[in-house]
Symmetry: C2
Subunit: 341 residues, 2 copies
DNA sequence: TTGTAAGCGTTATCAG
DNA sequence: CTGATAACGCTTACAA
């Protein structure tokens, strides 16, 4: 009834522990016939390797750094919380973790951080930062030093990063459009706002949004993207303008950060429950707005999955193992008032 | 740079390994002063216990059985696949797993299976079965034998099960209603079908559906639930009736199993892309229907989460540890054509 | 090409 | 009350 161990396999196959190990790990120096004997025993007993015992014996250590944008963003806060939780739990088995905060919009500071990483005492890095040529160079350096590098939440597609952990923002935009179009009954004007179109995420979301709007809801009019540059006053004036001069607007798609000022402005303008508003990222504030019917839908990614996936993928790349793509695909989650969890 | 171990703590505190272990595991027979010394060392070095090494030394084994409905249901197929995957991965650390299939609608067979379990060689059971008095009794017996018992996917609320792993079906129905109402623009008639209203899941979903329809979309008319008893012919006639006699019907909510015959009937009637159809469970067939715009939305639960959660919870109950409720809450996922993953 | 023995971080048993 | 010491399942020198 109990799980078979390497000892059982050795006995069953009539060989030693070391030989079993060699076969299991595909190490050289074993006769074909012996390999077959061992594999047969494995098959017969239904042996499953105990990865944890293996890592224990191997003394494997994974030293990772997470480079995250600093500042009071609700998103990075939840990200850090998820990281702490993962670290305390079994997910972070054999992992030594450190997080580094960098100013989100200071490319030089980001590069400085990346350059200051001691590549000799490190096995992998997860980076959440906007892509710039300097960042690309810094990543190239990390890769040359043999580290595993993943982009987190926002992709660095032209860098040498091994993998991107996050949602496909084109699909996210398409999903938003499908919801918007269906909620609006396929008619009316839609306002699109973001804090900044310099962010690749916003660009991709807009692209996807437009694709579906054009193909599925040709009668709807999507207005040009409006940037608020993280300025609440600008947000206020954008909304005020809509209220006064744009009676045809039925919906609003908030692609980027800054949902708090947006919701404030809508409330001030008295249009909170009235426009169809779709935003990104589930946070305490957006959650509350869903409950109040001020947001029609939130499109989000599960931050817990994000960090667990990052950990798994970094490990896999360190061991040059293949990853199970399907498991690492971060889902685009749609949250309404009724499935707030 | 490397993680401190019990050896480091022992050295730092000037005591032996055994004493450190006693303190860490809160075992009796250690002087207050020594406890303080050890804890101080733990604090100073930032020690985190290696759970896997601990379990290895402890020789802990968790022997679990999953009792699942047999038959060619797409849902149970994916469930079994997820179980196999979890078993092969690190989630099932120290777990010995067996699955038992029982005829879904034969209460006696279910009870026979439950009674035939050897409680001496078992630590926990996960059960997916409709609740009957006999099932309740069988579960009571398992609990008396000291096993951990969880209900999987469908709850057994009046039994002595320790926990329910699955979605809240009332919320699922509410979510469906919110989607339906918004997609339909708050007007029109809605047809509700299920294979059987004897299932608690369908009852609860209907309840939630009606709640939101009444409160949020008072102008919409929800027709009485129609049961198809897993009979494709009945499904055909239901749809045909709608086409001929119910011009006001704009939407269809499929609460239960049987999406394949439903979709076939809709196609035959030529209403496939036209009605707003919302169904449950993401399977190859419903996935395809989403892509074809034949389904407007699918409400589903992630089966991988389901089994991982079951494993975690069973383990926790075996060790009489508390569980982290938030982590075990299974999300109600909304899937549209654009976030099919 | 194969086997022996030590050790990974933790727990458990037995003396002191 | 406290401390050696031998496991757990696996890997890895080093020997044969």
């Amino acid at each position: 009834m109990s799980k078979p161990t390497v000892h059982d396999i050795a006995k069953e196959a009539g060989v030693s522990l070391a030989t079993v190990d060699r076969v299991l790990n595909a190490r050289p120096g074993v006769r074909e016939k012996t390999i077959a004997k061992v594999n047969a025993a494995v098959e017969r007993l239904g042996y499953v390797r105990d990865t944890y015992a293996a890592n224990l014996a191997r003394q494997r250590q994974y030293r990772f750094v997470f480079v995250l944008p600093e500042g009071p963003s609700q998103f990075t806060e939840t990200l850090k919380a998820a990281l702490k939780e993962a670290y305390a739990s079994q997910i972070a088995d054999r992992v030594v973790l450190r997080t580094v905060s960098v100013p989100a919009n200071d490319p030089h500071a980001i590069v400085r951080s990346l350059r200051s990483l001691d590549t000799d005492r490190l096995d992998g890095v997860a980076i959440m930062a906007p892509e710039t040529p300097q960042v690309r160079d810094a990543i190239a350096r990390l890769k040359e030093a043999g580290l595993a590098v993943v982009a987190l939440a926002t992709d660095l597609p032209n860098s040498k990063r091994d993998y991107f952990i996050g949602i496909n923002n084109l699909s996210a935009g398409r999903t938003a459009a499908l919801l918007m179009g269906r909620f609006a009954g396929g008619r009316g004007e839609v306002l699109v706002v973001t804090n900044s179109m310099r962010s690749r995420d916003s660009l991709e979301r807009r692209l996807g949004f437009d694709e579906v709007m054009k193909s599925d809801f040709p009668e709807m009019v999507v207005l040009p993207s409006i940037e608020t540059y993280d300025d609440p006053a600008r947000m206020e004036s954008v909304i005020a303008d809509v209220v006064e001069n744009r009676p045809g607007v039925v919906g609003l798609y908030s692609m980027g950060l800054g949902n708090v000022p947006l919701l404030d402005a809508l409330r001030d303008a008295g249009r909170a429950g009235d426009l169809i508003v779709i935003a990104h990222e589930l946070t305490p504030k957006t959650r509350e707005a869903l409950q109040q019917n001020e947001l029609a839908a939130v499109i989000t990614q599960n931050v817990g999955h994000l960090v667990r996936s990052a950990l798994r993928v970094l490990r896999a790349f360190c061991d040059s193992q293949s990853i199970f793509e399907a498991q690492e695909r971060i889902r685009i989650e749609i949250v309404l008032r009724e499935n707030l969890y």
